[in-house]
């Protein structure tokens, strides 16, 4: 059997729907596969409901943390930059991995647009911000990561997602309260592909992409397509997976920010750096600083919420 890490034009479909596993797998494959010039690796995956924030984003500013924990929607931070996405089984994740030199986001997006337009009779187009829009609605979110030897471009494709859950999860009350240099998402109205053409399904889309992928890369056969069970590579990806799941990576890697609340009509500014509350400016007599200084912000978040507007 050929090795899982061989280079060349290939398609791999992940059997897992756990966002942490899939992100870890994506990074493992990108870092370890012997990428050959002028070839591409296509990774197809999808996740159980979750919200994925970009590497340098602030999860509190991007999503409703409380809602996520109530509905048991996972929160994850990915290694690539960009904005926040909501994933569920109706949202297809596509990653294209190449050598650093062959990285070309526009080419990838144009390939997708052409393929989907032709097969499903749609009118998708690529915007300057490298998003794919259907008329005025956004249907994908892109992000990339460029390292010395490899680069990957991944994006989501809204096929049949629960848009209400999407909107609800990505709505953040804290957006106005947070000042920071973190990347903030640019929000747009979204649409499912299936809403425009109800014959489009996840299965059809995958089959279409696999076939067209090999054509695009001038391969005569589609045999280099495999399902991959990340469980088998657990030993290799567990470090990444543990990092992705850790509180540290989820919260403490957030760029420094100031969280402002109103308590008894007075503004209180809470400075957070590396996830830890480093300073509180406000009326000293109102709040007991000891409870918060030095604490992990995400740990005392609920207490802070209680103070707000009281």
């Amino acid at each position: 059997m050929k090795s899982i890490l061989r280079g060349g034009n290939r398609v791999l479909i992940s059997k897992s729907t756990n966002v942490y596993t899939n992100l870890a797998l994506e990074r493992y494959l990108a870092e370890n596969i012997k990428h050959q010039p002028k070839t591409r690796l296509l990774l197809l995956w999808r996740n159980q409901p979750c919200v994925v924030v970009g590497r340098y984003q602030n999860p509190f500013a991007e999503s409703d943390i409380k809602y996520l924990s109530e509905k048991q929607i996972d929160l994850a931070r990915r290694y690539s930059g960009g904005g926040t996405c909501y994933h569920d089984l109706g949202n297809l994740n596509v990653t294209i991995v190449t050598t650093r030199e062959d990285y070309n986001r526009k080419k990838n997006l144009h390939w997708i647009v052409n393929t989907l337009n032709e097969a499903f009779n749609l009118t998708l187009h690529v915007t300057d911000r490298d998003d794919i829009f259907l008329d005025t609605f956004k249907v994908t979110g892109s992000a990339s990561r460029l390292e010395r030897l490899y680069a990957y471009h991944h994006f989501t494709l809204l096929i049949n997602s629960y848009l209400n859950d999407l909107r609800r999860s990505l709505k953040s009350e804290d957006q106005m309260k947070i000042t920071s240099k973190a990347t903030s998402s640019v929000r747009s109205s979204v649409l499912n592909l299936a809403d425009r053409n109800n014959s489009i399904t996840y299965e059809k889309t995958i089959a279409l992409l696999i076939e067209k992928f090999f054509q695009w890369n001038n391969e005569k056969t589609t045999t280099s397509c495999d399902y991959i069970d990340p469980l088998l590579y657990y030993e290799h990806i567990k470090d990444f997976e543990n990092e992705l799941k850790s509180q540290k990576f989820l919260y403490q890697v957030t760029p420094p920010f100031v969280y402002t609340i109103e308590h008894e009509k007075q503004p209180i500014e809470i400075s957070v750096s590396n996830g830890i509350i480093t300073d509180i400016k406000g009326n000293d007599s109102i709040i007991d600083k000891k409870n918060f200084l030095g604490q992990l912000f995400h740990g005392v978040y609920h207490n802070i919420q209680k103070l707000n507007k009281t």
Binding site: M1, S3, I4, L5, G81, A143, L146, Y227, H236, P255
Partner: protein, 509 residues
Amino acid sequence: MMLGRYAHNNAALRCATFSLRMLQRPSSSFSQTAPFIYTFKKQTNIVPISSLNHSISHFGCRSFSLSSSRLSSVVQFKLADIGEGIQEVEVKEWYTKVGEHVKQFDKICEVQSDKANVTITSRYDGKILKLYYNVGDTAKVGEPLVDIKLEQGNNIPVETKISSVTPEEPVEVEVLNKTPSVNLLATPAVRRMAKELQISLNDVQGTGKDGRILKEDLLNYKSEASSAKAISTPLKSTPISPPPSPITMKQTPTIKTQPPSTTPVADRNEPIKGIRKAMVKTMTQANTVPHFTYSDEYDMTELVKLRQQLKKQSKDIKISYLPFIIKACSQALNNYSILNAHVDAKCENITYKGSHNIGIAMDTKDGLLVPNIKNVQQLSIMQIANELTRLQQLGKVGKLSTTDLTGGTFSLSNIGAIGGTYAVPVLLLPEVAIGALGKIVRRVVPDEDDDENSSSSSSDDDYCSCRVRSIMTVSWSADHRVIDGATMARFSNELKYLLENPLQLLINQ
């Protein structure tokens, strides 16, 4: 290379370009350069070169600059072109700081440009003197990102004069070859050491960054020459289990006065690669699981007769015993579903697998692999036989797919096809049971009458009637953390019953 391009436009650095190219990784594009000798000095406290902050003026500094007057030691490392026509990026994170030493390919910083994160790595070995941006600032492509003070040394002859202050570490020498190997990363010091120890760098596994070969690697290789691993072998984690036959050897010592004169034959060293390497990993893992083995003998006579009958009836049906055994296992597993289960790595959860995906250890073109037949519970014996043939044929040409090789829930090893009777098979994680089928041998067994009376009446144990039967030994190994001996024994008994009474097998399909 990137710096070279910009340097051409920058008169101040033009003189540095030629020599800076020398400092970069040697590659085949430099084949036209004349080899020249220069030294690298490792950073130490005493070596004068690095001591910019030292107020004492060093004799070393003078001669250093003399011999390498063309080399300017501080380099402005510029932000290289990111692609996609991007002119500006935001600096998101620094991985280094002023005063820190970096090696080539170490991470310097992370920049972000509209959804693309780029990791910028260093081109040089040296010390960071200046960071041009803070986190959150906008950096421009083509503009300086950091200043690096390069680490350099003198030519050999001059060096002896300088060492009135002897450096703590030995001075390293490199000769730039015209055709160095492109994929081997190793500092000049390491290369020299390899030469001295007469080790070929191709044989050494690098454990440094990007597979770089370090001094420790050379030392390890030297002391453990036989266990050197291949440099860039992709790791195959597909599960495999070798069926070992225990070999007991008795050596009777004979006393002689002198050994016969012989000439020793050279050893042959070979890095462990491919499937064997994967075996090392999976076997080591499996070894952490407490195994127990349970063996028994099955009377296969009826099955042998059945098979001969089938052969007579249809000359072109080729069916071996294995499909029958596989089907029988599946039937028995219906009653002992715990043997068709997976445990997780920490043995905290047991998953009773619904499908019986029975794996068969095969000696394929690539080595020992265990493809599995999916959903045996739904297949007829003929279908199992066909599937087995398909897998065997694929295995012969090395074309077994991932699907074939994954998802197994229970495994069998037909080592008896080659030979052997008893074995202690090693589990194929995360499965919990595995069987090794020995050879079917013709054996004489005493007649066992159903009524006990006859045996008690014949007090003459020396005389008894006997028959010749076909006996197959089977050895089962199971995960003793979740499977107990009684379960295994009862399963084996049920299987035994099915195989000894093949009709039962056919009725219950």
